[in-house]
């Protein structure tokens, strides 16, 4: 035990002495949370819109002003023909255009039904579908206005339309305002802790190999497990510190709710860190230089992050990719963080996650230690 303590102390000395470490530990989490939480948004605003108004009626102007009032759209132009709108779309200057047909108002009053065409630029798929969704919402809204404003007056619009309509409203549980920050920040926190722990552990151990200090250590009576623990304990402590540090930022700056117990979160993070340190250790056993370790770590981290459910919802992935995510520790951590913070889940609700993570921690660490014995 005493030896491990010396090694841990030595490790901390080295970590805090290195010029790059302090910024990594303190500046990186703040920057990541400040920049990414604000930039990595799923909301789309300022969609460029052209209205092709072939009707020039009161109604068509009403629709236009409805769009003008929306924060999602910016009306670039109003024209009379489709040609200009199509040209602009080909030049990618416009995301969506709206065609209001001739006799729009007349038909609406006479037959109480008409058609509006929405043409969406779907080069960016998610942006396109959101644009279409927002536009049809506004038009639906407008049709409601019509019945309220003009419904009583002279029965110009068929009374059937608003009577049989099913009005769908949403209630967003756990994130009532669909605030993407509430959704992103806990996930970013997970990425932060994962990056720090895997990178530090893989590179730190390889460094000893690269510089040759491991030679000096290997001829001493230090046992392998003592050396490994001496390396991993400091990084584990740093990882926990990062998590709590980031959590405080999330709670204070972004006012993310923490409905569940922080202890559930902290104990899951403790387990998760053991697994991710094991991964770093494993990478360090299959590489000889810090550069190799970094490439390996990046390769795995990119996979895990992209399949982690933060940037792409797991439910939207193809079946085979969903299966892959079951082997992804980040997936479980993100789920737990969201469940605990936003849903207030307790130990009982995330017991499966705990089980899987414990299993992963055991498997990866066993593999790593076995390989470590073989190579060094």
């Amino acid at each position: 035990m005493r030896r491990i303590r010396f090694l841990v102390i030595k490790e901390f000395k080295q970590i805090f002495r290195s010029r790059a470490m302090l910024p990594i530990i303190f500046v990186m989490p703040i920057l990541q949370l400040l920049i990414l939480a604000n930039a990595a948004t799923f909301e789309i605003k300022n969609l460029n819109l052209i209205i092709v108004d072939k009707d020039h009626s009161q109604f068509s102007r009403d629709i236009s002003s409805k769009f003008r009032g929306s924060p999602y759209f910016k009306i670039l132009n109003r024209t009379f023909t489709n040609t200009e709108a199509e040209d602009q779309m080909k030049l990618r200057n416009v995301d969506i255009y709206l065609e209001i047909p001739v006799n729009f108002e007349k038909q609406l009053i006479r037959e109480s039904s008409t058609k509006i065409q929405i043409v969406v630029n779907a080069i960016d798929g998610s942006k396109g579908s959101l644009a279409g969704f927002y536009a049809s919402n506004i038009i639906q809204d407008y049709s409601k206005d019509l019945s309220i404003k003009y419904g009583i007056r002279a029965n110009l619009i068929s009374p059937n339309t608003d009577m049989k309509q099913i009005d769908v409203t949403y209630s967003n549980w756990f994130n009532p305002n669909l605030d993407y920050k509430t959704f992103m920040v806990p996930g970013l926190l997970v990425l932060l802790v994962s990056l720090i722990s895997v990178f530090l552990s893989s590179m730190n151990i390889v460094r000893e190999k690269e510089i040759g200090t491991i030679e000096s250590i290997n001829v001493t009576p230090i046992r392998k497990y003592q050396f490994i623990l001496g390396k991993l304990i400091p990084i584990w402590i740093l990882g926990m510190f990062e998590l709590i540090f980031g959590l405080v930022i999330a709670l204070l700056i972004y006012k993310i709710p923490l409905l569940g117990s922080p202890w559930v979160l902290i104990s899951f993070a403790a387990l998760y860190l053991i697994a991710s340190l094991g991964m770093g250790l494993f990478i360090s056993t299959i590489t000889d230089t810090q550069q190799q370790a970094m490439f390996f770590t990046w390769f795995f981290m990119i996979l895990f992050i992209m399949l982690g459910g933060l940037f792409t919802s797991i439910e939207n992935m193809p079946k085979w990719a969903q299966t892959l995510t079951y082997f992804n520790p980040i997936r479980y951590f993100i789920e737990v963080v969201r469940m605990v913070m936003l849903k207030g889940s307790g130990f009982y609700e995330v017991r499966l996650h705990f089980g899987v993570m414990a299993f992963m921690a055991i498997v990866i660490n066993t593999l790593a230690v076995m390989r470590y014995r073989k190579t060094a």
């Binding site: 010396f6 000395k13 000096s216 001829v219 009576p221």
Partner: protein, 306 residues
């Protein structure tokens, strides 16, 4: 008393390329044993096997009476190892490095201070400096101090004088002699043949094969051929001319003269002077000399190659 190191039939290959072939060797307790050979001869491999950092393919060895495979834990507590490459923590200070290694071995700097005092006192003024910022010679002293901090029974040094200035080199050898007086067995490898004379016994190694193991005097005495030192103003032409003579085995430059080994024990320096009479050498002279250890090594190595 039993031997400090005993090596039996050690073989080691890297990817089918043999690095050590049937090494048999013993080192007596309390002696300075030199392992001498050119780069790539297998010196580091042998030291790494003895310090339990590397497993041999076959063969056994004991260090301090302990088997290098079964009792590796005992060996690690009782030997000191100074690798050829500086392997201490460059981002820790001199004192922190010393303390770390002292603590690992469960001792303190104060406890064995007398053993390292000579060299450590020289770097002590810089004890708060990070090891990476020390000069080459000081790094070497720190590495030696760290390797000695637990008062090992056997000290392994892998090319400690490579790239070290002549003064530090001499200091290092003085230190090794002092350690010998303390009863520590020293196993040192070097590529410098002249350092052989500073060892009690030496082993010459080349291409993974031990060519000769003996004391320096023993090796010189076993040199049976006649060695003639020939001198002239045009050394380069002289070597060429000497090599053409049928009674000369080989001729090679040695300092400012040419050392010539004769094939025929009947031949002598006068035959050389006779043979070169018509070659217009200015200031030609030749005399028989007692071979140095370097002459013996060159002879052994060339015979091995041939």
């Amino acid at each position: 008393m039993k031997n400090a190191i005993e090596i039996y039939d050690i073989n080691k290959s890297y990817r089918n390329k043999p690095a050590l072939k049937n090494i048999n060797l013993h080192v007596e307790p309390g002696e300075i044993f030199g392992l001498i050979g050119p780069d790539g001869a297998g010196k580091t491999t042998l030291i790494r096997i003895l310090t339990t950092l590397l497993l041999a393919d076959s063969g056994t060895a004991t260090v301090n009476g302990c088997d290098i495979v079964k009792d590796y834990k005992h060996i690690r507590t009782s030997v000191g190892y100074m690798p050829g490459r500086f392997s201490l923590y460059q981002d820790l200070t001199v004192e922190e490095n010393m303390n770390l290694f002292a603590k690992i071995f469960g001792t303190t700097i104060a406890e064995n201070y007398s053993l390292v005092a000579d060299i450590y006192s020289q770097i002590e003024p810089f004890k708060n400096r990070q090891a990476g910022q020390l000069s080459g010679g000081m790094k070497q002293k720190l590495a030696l101090s760290c390797a000695l901090i637990h008062k090992p029974d056997i000290l392994f040094l892998d090319e400690p004088t490579t790239g070290v200035d002549p003064v530090s080199r001499k200091e290092l050898w003085d230190m090794l002699k002092k350690l010998k007086k303390e009863g520590i067995t020293v196993f040192v490898s070097t590529a410098y043949m002249d350092e052989a004379t500073l060892c009690d016994r030496v082993a010459l190694i080349q291409d993974g094969v031990l060519l000769s193991v003996d004391s320096v005097d023993g090796i010189i005495n076993s040199f049976r051929k006649k060695l003639i030192s020939v001198k002239s103003d045009d050394i380069y032409r002289l070597i060429g001319d000497l090599r053409k003579l049928d009674f000369v085995e080989k001729a090679y430059p040695f300092g400012d003269c040419v050392h010539t080994i004769l094939l025929d024990s009947e031949a002598d320096e006068n035959m050389i002077l006779d043979a070169l009479k018509n070659h217009n050498h200015i200031n030609l002279s030749a005399k028989q000399v007692i071979p140095t250890i370097e002459d013996c090594f060159i002879d052994l190595m060339e015979n091995h190659n041939g």
